[in-house]
Amino acid sequence: MNVIVLANILIVLTISFGAIFILITAIGLIRLPDVYTRAHAASKSATLGVMSILIGVFLHFWLIEDHFNPRILLGILFLFITGPVGGHVMSRAAYFSGVKTWKGTVKDELKPEYERKVKETSLKIKE
């Protein structure tokens, strides 16, 4: 009995933790000013949020329903591998198609490299 109560507490904690972080991601996507800062919110909090929800689901089926499901663990692993790559690729694509950074940005060391690349490949930039 006690073990079940403890397991339930753990499950509720992990799932609500994940839900809170997904909420944070959503608020961040609305509040933050430009695509790069939004990528911060999307790539970090969403990964951790979905991950802890999956851990909660895994624990529920393992401890309460007595069914060990390794596919959920594989899902967590794949999320880990693909989450940061998605954030990186989207922010890079945004930068190289000429999306401006927010006006509060203090330093931009990618600019020379970007201009050199544009000259090299004669990419069209939108002004």
Binding site: H40, K44, G83, G104, T105, V106
Partner: protein
């Protein structure tokens, strides 16, 4: 390193045949004995013991988990702050890592750690261009984090 792991498996199977019990527990015992033998014979192998490399990998995973939690708390703080007064910046960072997989691993780790996202990797893969969400407290702290990650990855990859 792969050779040492193969050798360890081989010893484990020999142990199973010697004791003529083909169960997973005797495999585990054989594997432990093989690990001990390889440790005693460590001077005969070129390169490092694979056990220390596995240990370095475990340490890297632990470091990564810690940084992931810190990153989320930091993003949380930035988002719920009533005034948007963070100062984002893109800065360049030199890396000493050589193999492609090391650089991929490093940039994934950087992307999931506090306040930083890799925007671009230069063509010769010597420089990473990183977007930081708040340059004030990050730039000095970031260097130490990068050094710790880079060092941990080197610890895994050096032969």
């Amino acid at each position: 390193m792969a050779f040492q792991i193969m050798l360890n498996f081989f010893i484990a199977f020999i142990w199973m045949f010697l004791s003529s019990s083909f169960s997973s527990s005797s495999f585990v015992i054989g594997f432990m004995l093989g690990m001990l033998m390889i440790y005693i014979m460590r001077n005969f192998f070129p390169g490092r013991l694979y056990i220390s490399r596995v240990w370095a990998l475990v340490k890297l995973t632990m470091l990564f988990m810690k940084e992931l939690m810190l990153a989320n708390i930091q993003v949380f703080m930035v988002i719920i702050k009533p005034k948007l007064d963070m100062r984002p910046a893109i800065f360049a960072m030199q890396t000493e890592l050589e193999h492609d997989w090391e650089i991929t691993l490093l940039s994934s780790l950087i992307t999931l750690t506090p306040g930083t996202i890799v925007v671009h990797v230069s063509d010769d893969s010597k420089t990473l261009y990183i977007h930081a969400i708040d340059i004030d407290d990050v730039e000095s702290a970031v260097d130490s984090i990068k050094n710790s990650f880079e060092k941990a990855i080197m610890e895994v990859s050096r032969s």
